[in-house]
Amino acid sequence: MATEVFQKIFDDKVSREIKIEPKDWMPGDYRKTLIRQISQHAHSEIVGMLPEGNWITRAPSLRRKATLLAKVQDEAGHGLYLYSAAETMGITREEMVDQLLTGKAKYSSIFNYPTLTWADIGAIGWLVDGAAIMNQVPLCRASYGPYARAMIRICKEESFHQRQGFEILLTLCRGSKEQKEMAQDALNRWWWPSLMMFGPNDDASPHTEQSIRWKIKRFTNDELRQKFVDICKEQAEILGLTIPDPDLKWNEETNHYDFGEINWDEFWNVVKGNGPCNKERLNARVTAHKNGEWVREASIAHARKRKKTLTAQKN
């Protein structure tokens, strides 16, 4: 069959909301876009474990420690679901890991900010996971089957992440004056980077239109960011915290909150590798990969030995 025929079948499926599966024909750019998006998403889950891992040993109670551990474990799992989904498109795990470790691949810039206090763990759960959920829920309907299925699983698991973060902040906000200040300080530092998680403004995001046509994305960056601001403003009131934006106010006409201009210079600077923790994060991944070498070797040696024993038993 000619490419035009395949393209027509593909377009028809996408328009009728029929999922594209790994063995189906798909345009080269669709494959390329998804490999990039899914692998970046996987890398973000893996690197995302680092800022929180920083606080596991210093969590203030056993309950907080157990829940933080469970959250970080989930993130490892989410990375694995996504790597597998990307592999169905023809890229290997080794290639993806290599792209991450050599700094060729990007991951969400939010993880290049440091976690200075315990309140940061609360702010990450509330804002960073909140923004991630806002992005991810529509991805459960993405046109590529394996990606959509991974996202469904991830979204189901992620709602506890946000709730545990909010609970941490709520506890601090109802605690001593110092604790509440610590929560406010965390919000001050995490608010703007969280808004940046939705990516550049629509007029500076050239791929959005195509991704929406392919039904990978369902909403634009600015639409999702607006939803997030509207929801957070009200949640911040429950905490009794102030969102660090003097321009944040209700707009009767749009029925949304207006908010201030994002510092896009900072955004691009962190994307380019100059954020506060870019080097530290990458080094941590490289070291972890190196330190894990013997485990990978041992598992392969163990598998060989077990196979030999099994064969001997059969004979």
């Binding site: 469970a70 694995l80 598998a303």
Partner: protein, 94 residues
Amino acid sequence: MNPDEPLWEVFIRSKQGLDHKHVGSLHAADAQMAIENARDVYTRRMEGVSIWVVESKNIHASNPDEAASLYDPAADKIYRHPTFYDLPDELKHM
């Protein structure tokens, strides 16, 4: 792909009495480790009572481009469904 750590497809039985269902895939050095990894990756919230793993290379799939002709023989046989038959309303228990 690293031949020492091949890809495995994971199937999980969520409850006794139900079928195993495909949930995803993972890499492991052998079947036993694939099951252990599947336990960690796919059943962190009691999602399963039984795990199957099959090395992905052993799965043979039909070709989606041939779907039309492959399923064509069943397309015109609606008489395989019970509703095809015209029977009087007073007929009970059938």
